[in-house]
């Protein structure tokens, strides 16, 4: 029986270890996310941040530790993956839209085919979502006809169509042109203001500072330092954090 | 009036039958529907016969072993010989045809590509039959009659589709060299001829070898078709051997399995090697 209540963390990660063969990429990561909170995970490349959020969505398996989403253990062979993925939406660096479907079809596919929802109702929702990501008029364009930023916003809408409780963003602006980064970030900001729980892996420090409730800095598979953005960016204590921030800022 | 066309010999019933009576296919077709149906029923009755007779699989296998040397030495070797010669002739003609397909002259190009398309799209077996039926089976000079063995006609019959497919490989390989190479050579004052022979062709060899080998494997797997035309290769010999062993149905499994296995043993290494070559060249390109 799941006794999870909104007072407990919506996402709870405890001592997670993950290795690819010989290479250990996560060496005991622990943190909690409360409902409605926006957290940003930052850190140098190869520090395991993307792996961590992929594990939350059960795209990668973990070796030990525990990941709980709304109190349900993800690291469990008997996990109902469909139930997990209804609760957790994920957006990728490479957008990964389905190239053979139009923008609106991309948004409508999963709710209709996986959740077997009523197509009419889904279509209405899809139009609302397209409006939300400010892409009215692009409903019937194919992904190949959209710019990177537009594709990424459709990808966000596609995840939202599943009506998740948590959104995971995996370096979603890394593959975009500087001009289009902003339009995607605005979309995420809207989301955060609506009270969506968001976990972002990002390199956009300015954005992280502005939007995040809490920032985690990872290096070599562990969380080196964390704190609210105000204190995190101004008085970092660990030398590694200092070095990283001095390079970025 | 004398002529060399077997079609006109067919009026001479006697001659026709001395030549063709051994051919399984002709027997099959000449014998008409009723015989075919009877033939089918005979095969249907096999399981019934099998239950009635005391002939066991062990006996069948022992009988089969006796025939293995013959099947390999004069049967499969002939398949290999046919495939070998057909490949040689087909490659030689195919290269010429392929070069003609990229000729400067439109008329040559059109002619070459129509020949290529014609022989690529016609089933091999149809082509084989046509060659077997239309070509002379003997050549008369003033004093002597030279009999043309059936298998040489088979070689010719196979070399035509091979020619067409090699022609496509050659054309494809030449076309795959980027246009920039032609332009670069032209800017270095190479003539068209020189560019072609010294710059373009050397880049094509490697691309042509894997598909060429692939076609060789396909060709060698097509050679059993000539058993329908009475050439004494492995399948014809297997049939004759089974007849000599009183057509016991238990013989079918060992004989046909052996034919499958020997082709597998021959073609599988070729396929593996082709894939290995493809990978090696793919990296360099």
């Amino acid at each position: 029986m799941n006794t999870w209540t909104e007072k407990e963390p919506i996402l709870s990660i405890k001592d997670v270890h993950k290795s690819f063969g010989e290479l250990e990429v996560l060496k005991g990561v622990t943190f909690d996310v409360m409902k409605g909170e926006v957290i940003c995970i930052i850190g140098p490349s190869g520090s395991g941040k993307s792996t961590l959020i992929r594990c939350v969505n059960a795209l990668n398996e973990i070796q030990s530790g525990s990941i709980k989403v709304e109190g349900v253990e993800v690291n469990d062979p008997k996990l109902d993956k469909l139930a997990l993925r209804r609760k957790v939406g994920m957006v990728f660096q490479q957008y990964n839209l389905f190239p053979h479907k139009t923008a609106i079809e991309n948004i409508m596919m999963a709710p209709i085919q996986v959740l077997k929802q009523d197509p009419k109702e889904v279509e209405e929702r899809a139009h609302t979502l397209i409006k939300k990501v400010r892409l009215q008029g692009k409903e019937n364009s194919f992904p190949g006809e959209l710019s990177g930023g537009q594709q990424q916003r459709i990808a966000i809408a596609r995840s939202l169509a599943m009506e998740p409780n948590i959104m995971l963003f995996d370096e979603i602006t890394a593959a975009l042109d500087p001009e289009t980064v902003k339009e995607v970030l605005v979309t995420i900001k809207d989301l955060a203001q609506d009270g969506m729980t968001c976990c972002l892996v990002t390199h956009e420090m300015g954005f992280a500072k502005e939007i995040a409730d809490h920032i985690y800095f990872t290096d070599r598979g562990i969380i080196v330092e964390h704190g609210p953005p105000k204190t995190f960016f101004t008085d970092a204590k660990d030398p590694r954090t200092k070095e990283f921030l001095s390079q970025i800022l | 009036m004398k002529n060399n066309f077997s079609i006109l010999y067919t009026y001479n019933k006697k001659l026709y039958h001395t030549v063709d009576s051994t051919r399984f296919s002709f027997w099959l077709v000449n014998s008409g529907y009723k015989w075919c149906i009877a033939f089918l029923f005979l095969t249907i009755l096999y399981p019934v016969n099998a239950m009635a007779s005391n002939y066991t699989y062990t006996m069948a296998f022992q009988a089969f072993l006796k025939w293995v040397p013959l099947l390999v030495k004069s049967g499969f070797v002939l398949n290999v010989i046919i495939s070998f010669f057909a490949m040689m002739i087909g490659t030689a003609l195919g290269v010429i045809l392929g070069l003609a397909q990229v000729s400067q002259y439109k008329i040559v190009r059109i002619f070459a590509s129509s020949v290529t398309q014609l022989f690529r799209n016609i089933p091999w077996l149809v082509l084989l039959f046509i060659i077997m039926l239309t070509f002379p089976f003997e050549i008369e000079t003033d004093d002597k009659i030279y009999k043309i063995p059936d298998w040489t006609k088979a070689v010719f019959g196979f070399s035509l589709p091979i020619m067409a497919n090699i022609s496509e490989i050659v054309r494809g390989a030449i076309k795959s060299v980027p246009l920039g190479q032609w332009e670069a050579a032209e800017s270095l004052a190479f003539s068209r001829q020189k560019t072609f022979w010294q710059i373009i062709l050397p880049q094509c060899y490697k691309r042509m070898i894997p598909p060429w080998m692939n076609w060789y494997a396909i060709l060698s797997m097509a050679t059993p078709l000539v058993s329908l035309l009475g050439v004494e290769e492995i399948i014809t010999l297997s049939r004759q051997a089974m007849e000599a062993e009183n057509n016991n149905p238990e013989l079918l499994i060992p004989f046909y399995s052996f034919a499958l296995l020997i082709f597998f043993a021959y073609c599988y290494p070729i396929a593996k090697f082709t894939i290995a070559l493809e990978k090696r060249y793919a990296v360099k390109l």
Binding site: K81, R85, V114 | V29, N121, I122, P123, L260
Partner: protein, 250 residues
Amino acid sequence: MTGFEQYFIELADTHPKWNFVYFYQEVERSRIITGIYYTIGLSILTVFFSVVVGLVGAWMQGSKSKLARLTVQGFIQFFRNTPPFVQLLFFYFALGQFTPTHSPDGWLEVPIISNFGWAVISLSLFAGSYNVEIFRSGIEAVPVSTREAAESLGYNRFQSFTKIILPLCFRICLPSLNNNLINLVKTTTQAFGIAVPELLYQCISVYNDYSTSMNAVMLLMFIVFFLIVGLIAWSSSALERKLKIPGYGV
């Protein structure tokens, strides 16, 4: 007797090498029609089943079970490296002897799989083994990240295979699939070897009745096969155009 028939009778008189016997002789005409009917029927059935075999094989190759993958690999290597003609003979003669029989009229024992049936089975497996490889390479061409996206939206393996991967893979494979299917149609002539009354078989029969009809019979075979092959090539390129996704280069 129509003018059409009259014309070909006269043509055969004046040009003995061009005896289009199947245009004016009822028996030969019905032979040719049966032949075309069987060739087309055999082609449609084998094309359909070979695609089914290819899809199932490609799906099994992506399975987690090592046994399933090995089975598919063995199947592919066997059917690709042995002559299709010997496969036909093996299926029909060697395996055919074990086919259970039934008795429709009470005294004749008929096997439940006819020679036509064996031709369909054998040729479908033969072409199917090529289709597995074709579909597999198409599936590999679909980026892993696209599959992950489907997975993160809650698609299970079967759903993402049928709804996301296949539609993309199909567009990538179409040219090589088309080649293989054309090759398959040409291979159906080999069913001659087990006396399936397809076009080649009927044409040889006509030729054996009227040896003067050789040229006419050959011409007919050329035209019929050219039309079938052309039809496949044409419908494949039409399909390719129809399935083209704007902004997605394949």
